[in-house]
């Protein structure tokens, strides 16, 4: 038996080992991409959306108000995205609640945001929650943070809605939807275009996202 044959055998064993390692080492790492799904706009709560329903690209963002990366995505990417793609009718953006159990106040923050959304004040509440994330996550004062951007009358209505079971049910519905996309971390943005689904996990910078959206829009 020649040295070359032994070496070939070793290479084979090595590749098999690598394959086994990749397959068994971390199941989540090899999770298959989400299969294309038919996106149904009728199920969308329009209170938590931005842009036109007829936009060619639909972006669903599964977000947690207490998650630092969600704040980064909101501040660094989504504000520019809104100016250049949402307001121009190219992208329809949907906020999905995905409060993680590890965050003590994310569920209550989602409740407040959803309650405010029902009164047409989602954008203001979303902005104040993300911009003051470090403060309320320490103090737990979600109510005071939201109250800083709403009138006392609206705040009274929000407080009444926060404990409404329908608000929690809507959050649970978003979480269940996220699980169908294999969402297990936030932020996760699911981009829909012409029947194709592209899940994007984590923070994606505007400079990285922009060329992709442009290429999608220019593709036939």
């Amino acid at each position: 038996m020649s040295w070359q044959r032994i070496r070939a055998g070793v290479i084979g064993i090595g590749l098999l080992t690598a394959g086994a390692y990749l397959s068994l080492g971390d199941g989540s790492a090899l999770a298959s991409p989400v299969p294309p799904q038919t996106f149904n706009l009728q199920d969308v709560d329009l209170h938590q959306t931005r842009g036109s329903k007829t936009a060619p690209i639909v972006m669903e963002t599964f977000s947690d108000f207490q998650c630092p990366s969600c704040k980064v995505l909101y501040v660094s990417t989504f504000q520019k995205l809104n100016d250049n793609y949402v307001s121009t009718g190219k992208v329809f953006s949907i906020h999905r609640d995905f409060p993680l159990p590890m965050h003590a106040y994310s569920r209550i923050a989602a409740r407040y945001a959803r309650a405010a959304a029902q009164l047409g004040k989602f954008e203001q509440v979303e902005q104040v929650l993300f911009q003051n994330q470090e403060k309320w996550e320490k103090s737990g004062d979600v109510d005071g943070t939201v109250a800083s951007v709403l009138t006392p009358a609206l705040m009274t209505k929000v407080r009444a809605l926060v404990n409404n079971p329908s608000v929690d049910a809507a959050i649970e519905k978003d979480i269940a939807l996220g699980k169908t996309y294999n969402v297990n971390q936030t932020p996760t943005t699911v981009i829909h275009y012409k029947g194709q689904t592209y899940p994007v996990i984590g923070v994606v910078g505007y400079d990285v996202l922009r060329p992709f959206l442009d290429q999608l829009l220019s593709s036939k």
């Binding site: 040295w3 690598a18 971390d26 984590g202």
Partner: protein, 174 residues
């Protein structure tokens, strides 16, 4: 001169060690390039996913506060590919001594950076080691310390073995 056996302990250590390190490096590089956003088709989606993943990795490198933003971006765009190549070279066993030395140096570098961040209590939410987001903890250091120990042991064995004649080489008076 007395010849060593073709399958002595040192050779077994080198073989197992390089297969383990090779697979680990390939997995580490692969997970940085194709995770967390895993899109393979069409080409524009793959390109976008790789760009987004490497940009994410660059921001993780930046949290260690060792390199500037441009330095972190350079490392993020080269290191994962180097890891994959290094892993394959270790698996195939070509010039194994050189690549074991390279792997040892790289792993010692990683361990140094991680230890520094740990001692400085830097808020590292994801060490960027593999695909799964993993905060920097003492266990991360222990695991990386084991990788370093394996790499150094293999390098030592490879250097010792290189000083001996190959068991199947022709005798010197042949």
């Amino acid at each position: 001169m007395m010849q060593s056996s073709p399958l002595n302990l040192r050779r077994a250590i080198i073989l197992i060690g390089r297969l383990f390190l090779g697979a680990t490096f390939i997995y580490a590089g692969y997970s940085k390039i194709l995770h967390p956003t895993f899109l393979l088709h069409p080409w524009i989606a793959l390109k976008f996913a790789v760009t987004a993943n490497l940009a994410n990795f660059a921001s993780e490198v930046e949290t260690f506060q060792v390199l500037s933003a441009s330095g972190s971006a350079f490392v993020a765009h080269t290191l994962p590919f180097f890891e994959v190549v290094l892993g394959f070279l270790l698996l195939i066993g070509w010039r194994v001594r050189i690549w074991l030395v390279a792997a040892s140096l790289l792993l010692v570098g990683f361990l140094s950076v991680l230890t520094r961040a740990f001692l400085l209590h830097l808020d590292i939410k994801n060490c960027g080691c593999f695909a799964t987001p993993e905060p920097l903890t003492g266990m991360t250091l222990v695991r990386d310390g084991l990788f370093v120990a394996v790499a150094l042991l293999c390098t030592y064995c490879a250097v010792i073995e290189a000083r001996k004649p190959h068991p199947w080489s022709a005798p010197s008076n042949f």
